[in-house]
């Protein structure tokens, strides 16, 4: 049995081809039969796509019932015309469903700066809303309809028990595409049937995004359209989680984090032109925050990424990138390990190079799943993140495929 978005109680989906893209599905609908607690995170880019502006307003009351996403046109840098288009998307869905437009979240991904095809999208919404279904197939259609240059759909499902009830949680995501002028938008839509207060869900979502989607990097740019939305409709029937002290909160938060990390890793695995998946870990930091800053600085360094492509046990670049992270960093305390999931080899011991078999490490680095672990030996803070390597294919994708 396939389990995905539609396994979650009360969730119906659809993914349609409405003609914004030439061939592939380009309109996704995720619907909850009852209003759900909802929380979002949005791009930190100062240039914000129109649907993000609309969804920011609609999420204010912590409630939503449907997510509508189109692919093929980002509705970014489109001005007033685009704003009206994003509002029309929400309006069309709300009218069709007989709900308030504030209960509709909208998202877009695709070309920047092209006029938004409002008429096509509105017609697409109206024509497809009746098709929403609880079939697993419909969940996969939605997962496919949010893709741009992704090479595969990204889905996840898990369940756990709370108050003797089975709680379902499922999500879809997209990332990957950097081909002009798509800006590598990252989208994540997660649904659960857990019952949780909106304010608490918001807290959990923000914390989990910081540990997952915010810890992956393909090329360091944040798109105008990035958005993560989580709907929890309460149909599992657990006692509503209403406090951080509730035993269910910690459990749900952990599952949400696991789901987001799963989706984030899938995004990295599908990074454009990427040949390697690298997990970066920093331990022994003065704080978790410092550890995460170091992870981001290292995983986003062009030179480190190129070294990963070249299977080069190049600790100098890692130390140099860490020194550029903008946090106090004393390399003379640092232990550094390189390897894969099976085996890690220490290359630095308290800042001193360790004699290691360079050819053995280079063989290790041939694996497509690599690990880099840096221990600052200064405190209890830790962080993890994930990145791709920088390949000649990446450059070709992002340059030769011109407009």
């Amino acid at each position: 049995m396939i389990r995905n978005l539609t396994t979650v109680r009360g969730i119906k989906c659809w993914g349609a081809h409405i003609g914004i893209k030439s061939m592939r599905r380009d309109l996704a609908i995720i619907h909850s039969e009852v209003p759900a607690s909802a929380a979002c995170t949005f791009t930190r880019n100062r240039v914000v796509a129109e649907p993000i502006k609309v969804s920011r307003e609609h999420i204010r009351d912590g409630k939503a019932q449907v997510i509508i996403c189109n692919a093929g046109n980002a509705n970014a840098c489109t001005g007033d015309q685009g704003r009206k288009g994003a509002e029309a998307m929400a309006q069309a869905a709300a009218e069709k469903l007989g709900i308030a437009k504030e209960d509709v979240l909208v998202a877009s991904t695709g070309l920047i700066g092209e006029p938004f095809p409002t008429e096509d999208v509105v017609r697409g919404i109206k024509e497809n809303m009746d098709k929403i279904s609880g079939d697993a197939k419909a969940g996969s259609f939605a997962a496919n309809a949010i893709l741009t240059t992704d090479t595969f759909a990204k889905e996840g499902f898990m369940d756990f028990e709370l108050d003797g009830k089975a709680i379902n949680i499922a999500g879809i995501a997209k990332g990957s595409g950097m081909i002009h002028p798509n800006m590598g938008t990252m989208l994540g839509f997660i649904v659960s049937d857990v019952a949780i207060e909106p304010a608490l869900l918001d807290k959990a979502v923000k914390a989990c995004v910081d540990l997952s989607f915010n810890m992956i990097t393909v090329d360091g740019d944040t798109s105008t359209n990035d958005m993560v939305a989580v709907l929890c409709n309460g149909l599992a029937g657990n006692t509503t989680i209403a406090s951080e002290k509730d035993k269910g909160y910690k459990l749900f938060r952990q599952k949400l984090e696991d789901m987001m990390i799963h989706l984030a890793k899938l995004i990295i695995s599908d990074g454009e032109g990427a040949s390697k998946f690298v997990e970066y870990e920093v331990a022994g930091a003065p704080s978790d925050k410092t550890a995460r800053q170091l992870v981001r600085a290292i995983s986003d360094s062009t030179l480190v990424k190129a070294a990963m492509f070249g299977r080069d046990p190049n600790w100098g670049r890692i130390i140099c990138a860490a020194g550029n992270a903008g946090v106090p960093f004393d390399y003379t305390h640092v232990d550094l390990f390189l390897g894969d999931n099976e085996k890690m080899v220490q290359v630095l011991d308290k800042g001193q190079p360790v004699a290691f078999d360079r050819n053995r490490v280079k063989r290790l680095l041939r694996e497509s799943n690599l690990r880099v672990k840096l221990d600052m030996n200064e405190g209890e803070g830790q962080g993890r993140g994930w990145g791709a390597d920088l390949t000649t294919d990446y450059v070709m994708f992002n340059s030769v495929y011109t407009t």
Copy 2:
């Protein structure tokens, strides 16, 4: 007549091969016959090479008489052994010249984390100090002896008149090399015979570095060894510049800025694997500082750099990179122009795409010298910077050339 470092009154140089590198010159000496006003800027990386630590101490009094630089070994991440090596460099030069070791500035560039070859470097200094010469040839030898993977030596010379005296200013620089484990160290050494107070020189140097060396990017990483040093020995005989209000200050500061920008541009022209030289300009910003932040964010964006390689008039990536600069940015006010030194084509007008002949712009972008100009239309602030494109060759250089 060749004019370079040694044209400056009282400056003698040498560049020797002392065996740290296999073939090329690897020890540079720049000497002033009288103590000079001196000022430096150093890397902002938290991991700092040993010679940087020594030079930081020696520059405190605002005086120096000689710069000693070796190539081939960065003396970074070398701990106590390296610190002693950097001190021995200064000590050896001071003894040979009969001056205080505090009047010696030391610098290194090359491999990180390798034990520093103190004995070879000290012997090299002792054997070559007597060879310093005022010949133009000796100036070029010094320019060559600081290179690593650079493909050409970077030199500049200019003169101007002040108080009826001809003032000379000359400089050398290195950049470029990102090949493991060299961290792309940027060095700039400038000498002048102008008379200027040390505190004022320090002010001028910091301001000019912010407008030149700090506005270039190949891959965004700051090396452990970056250093710019300026010596002004006063032998031109002008009235010593002692106040920002002196007419000579503004003039000298402008010439120093011109020299640093000249050297910075040469570094970019020699960027590893780079096929294009791009000048980025931001105008109409709320402040110069904001303009420079935007220039840096745009010129350092992996996606923008790949688009330049691909000759892609991809304004979406430029706007997105600007939105990630961490400064308030309203794209709806922005005018954007792409082109080369001859011709600029407007692609955005107050955030709206301008109909332009895409093929004509793509032809423009085939030039190896490109220009990108963004006008925020919000104030008087402006900034300029320079960058290379991201090429498949860059990735190959930095990955396949493994340890």
